[in-house]
Subunit: 488 residues, 2 copies
């Protein structure tokens, strides 16, 4: 194995790393310049899934060989360019380059944190950053939480605490006794991760009880009493209400204060899925959208959505930070000694064991860029979206089904001469054409009234001019060409 | 907001990124040189949790200011140095610097992948890398899977598929009917994430049915029949057996073939928690440890343990790759259109939605470093651990409770003159002293016979000489000093 030791020394050699690192920084800086300029690249370099599969086969050489740069060039050339100002698609951030540098540090250090010793600095950062975030939402001093790998795990973590607090029995240790199955009241438009969470917990499809929404796709608080009564009559046991801030399809913010009142009145757990929109609390102009979030028992807040962080970094905040311990407490003597301090041994209160140093990037960016930058970012993207909606409404050939609450906007192109029955097909076709040509990256969604184009104005480099260009591109696109190879 | 647009342009400026990136590469290369040399640093720069908390307060400036380098210097100075050859603690890798570079790319690109369009290149890499991993384990062509953020989420994902396949009812949609509660048979020494997974699913403490282990802490297959019968008599409904490869405390590998036979005989799901040890399949010398893994219905395999990757990258492999779709299928029209291709829209079969480009680092490292490097790594660390165990057994003043199956080894110092009743306290004290001085980072665990020091020889730079030095340090350490401020 002498041979292996030599190769290991080479693979971990600091000078080789330095050389590759400098090369990579130049390659990525050139890439970033190109992507942010919005000129040199298609937003999404479209190839079919099978073509992409052929480029990265399921086999590897036995012996070393090849250079990093050309390999990374192929990856860059096969990826969606979220820094392009014409990326207006899913709610995934165009990450701050500074945050990517922090993730680079995190990956090299690899301090896994489940226990304090495995990451003293980052454990402290996590604890205090969560306290700061809780403070931004107006939660009390007793609040605290954990970072989890993504909003889906985050919502599950919060609902586990709700189950433990409100089921009326020790579900964690005792399992589900005979009796009415548990359920959570949630707007019928809520994110699919909530259905996943309740189905994971074994509550089945009835684990979610849908609450009707109004014309703006916001939960109707006046329907809560009747929904609760009907669920109870149907033999279910409601334990919580989940409000969205905002919903995924349209970005609608449920009214939090009446939901908080309702939960208080009925002794229900109040969870806010603020994965996307809890960041509104950072903006003086839009803070009112999440008024009442300070009364939540738990909140999920993704910094990789509206705080310009790369995925993943999800805050799960609890009004009473001790709640999360109850859900996960168990023995693992090689990890948690009897003297382990609750705040610092983070593995005690998350589904995860080893995790990434998620706090590092956000803590660093807040420290160096200042909080106003994040506050203004929220204000600027929400403002931009409102201006875009006004522009569309004034256009005469576009339709906006619902005024935007945040930076998510659905609309569709309704040119004269296209019958209503063909509008759904037209939107889907136009989207496919634009993304396959690489002009823009946007998505689509189906609302009760049909198929709509859907944009999230999440990249701070996206301007009014880019959006105007989007409308022109939609107007100029050939309407009758089926998407496929002929348009490439 | 013109002011914000200017500041955003500056924050995303490619030249500023280039400059900070080059500085950071030099800073990290210097750090890596120091850490791998094993000379300049303590392994863990010990401070109390409260001291660490004071260094990273819960407040941030409103305006920008400060430089990245000094900030990162404080983080480096407050972290556990996993590249130090005297890091022999938890099962968290000393990441390949090349892999950290790939994570840097991943964080900048931020292709979140839940749908193919959000990461064409990395979706293909993920699909084909998982096929390659399945092939290494000897799973059939039908095998496939997903990457998840960590082994805990991975084990939960596998057990959800087991529930759907074996409960005898549609647990995902229908919830838990009245009737015998589900349970999984598992060695009494298995990882706590399995108990978490079954408790998350609402099965309570009886969701795990412990199977006795032998003197080597391996599941006793001859006990399976009686355990199954007793669980059934007690009113439970066993649906699966989970075997560990290997267990966390001692690294014991359960015998997989008899477990596979048993599952086949009784129609049970066979899951292997190979988070740590599935990598044994890469080594011709140690592949026999996981003989039978090719018969598993599902396997969890962490590349951030024994493949030198930074956290997180967990493969969840299914013998029949369609299994995972069943567990998670649901509607989300803004994500999954009717024409979405199953393999390429990865969000269809994982608990997560947006996730990191986990495949990039491992795909790149296998491509550039070659597969033999990984194979030899496993062989070298397992070999080293065996030599260390022999050295301890021959020493006369150390005790090894169980011969190592992999690269995890428990032992304790038993110097002449220390009564048996004080041995537990001695181990805990010595460990605390060594890690607070920064000489070594190792952990401890409690076995039925008492407290043991526990080492994982996971850093390829750790040599026989370092381990010899560890024994000398334990011998030379003052035995009666209580750990605390006086030793610093």
């Amino acid at each position: 194995m002498q041979n292996f030791r030599d190769r290991a020394a080479a693979a971990y050699d600091a000078e080789r790393f330095r050389q590759q690192g400098h090369q990579l920084v130049d390659q990525l800086a050139d890439y970033l310049a190109s992507a942010t300029s919005g000129k040199a690249l298609p937003v999404l370099p479209w190839v079919t899934p099978d073509e992409s599969l052929a480029r990265f086969p399921a086999s590897f050489p036995e012996e070393p060989g090849g250079e990093l740069s050309p390999f990374i060039a192929r990856v860059l050339g096969g990826s969606n360019h979220l820094h392009h100002p014409r990326y207006v698609g899913h709610q995934v951030s165009a990450p701050l380059p500074l945050a990517a540098l922090c993730d680079f540090v995190s990956s090299l250090l690899n301090n896994g944190m489940a226990v304090y010793e495995m990451g003293p600095a980052v454990s402290a950062m996590e604890h205090n950053l969560l306290r700061w975030m809780a403070g931004q939402l107006g939660l009390p001093e007793s609040a605290g939480g954990v970072f989890t790998s993504g909003g889906s795990v985050g919502n599950l973590t919060a609902l586990l605490a709700a189950r433990q607090a409100k089921a009326g029995y020790d579900a964690w240790n005792g399992g589900s006794p005979a009796g009415p199955p548990l359920t959570v009241l949630v707007a019928e438009t809520a994110h699919y991760s909530l259905a996943r969470a309740t189905k994971v917990m074994g509550w089945g499809a009835e684990g979610l009880t849908p609450v009707p929404v109004d014309a703006n796709f916001r939960l109707r608080p006046e329907s809560l009493e009747a929904t609760l009564a009907a669920a109870t009559r149907a033999g279910r046991r409601p334990i919580a209400v989940v409000a969205s801030a905002g919903s995924t399809s349209t970005g609608a913010f449920d009214p939090l204060e009446p939901v908080a009142d309702f939960c208080e009145r009925h002794g229900l757990w109040f969870h806010v899925d603020g994965a996307h929109g809890a960041s509104a609390a950072l903006s003086p102009r839009y803070r009112h959208q999440v008024k009442g979030i300070e009364r939540a028992d738990s909140v999920v807040w993704d910094a990789h959505k509206m705080m310009m962080m790369p995925a993943l970094i999800t805050a799960v905040l609890f009004r009473d930070s001790t709640r999360s311990y109850e859900s996960f407490a168990q023995q693992a003597s090689y990890l948690f000694g009897p003297g382990s301090r609750p705040w610092s041994d983070i593995g005690l209160r998350t589904l995860e064991c080893t995790k990434e140093m998620m706090a590092l990037k956000l803590y660093t960016c807040l420290s160096l860029l200042g909080t106003r930058f994040f506050s203004d970012y929220v204000t600027a993207t929400f403002d931009l979206t409102r201006r875009f909606a006004e522009r569309l409404k004034a256009s005469g050939d576009f339709e906006v089904p619902v005024a935007p609450d945040c930076n998510i906007l659905c609309f569709r192109y309704t040119p004269a001469g296209v019958p209503a029955s063909e509008l759904d097909t037209l939107q889907a076709r136009l989207r496919q054409l634009l993304i396959q040509r690489g002009d823009f990256y946007l998505v689509q969604t189906t609302l009760p009234s049909g198929v709509y184009l859907r944009t999230t104005l999440i990249n701070p480099l996206t301007s009014d001019a880019e959006l105007e260009a989007l409308l022109e591109a939609l107007r100029q696109a050939p309407r009758n060409v089926a998407p496929g190879s002929e348009i490439r």
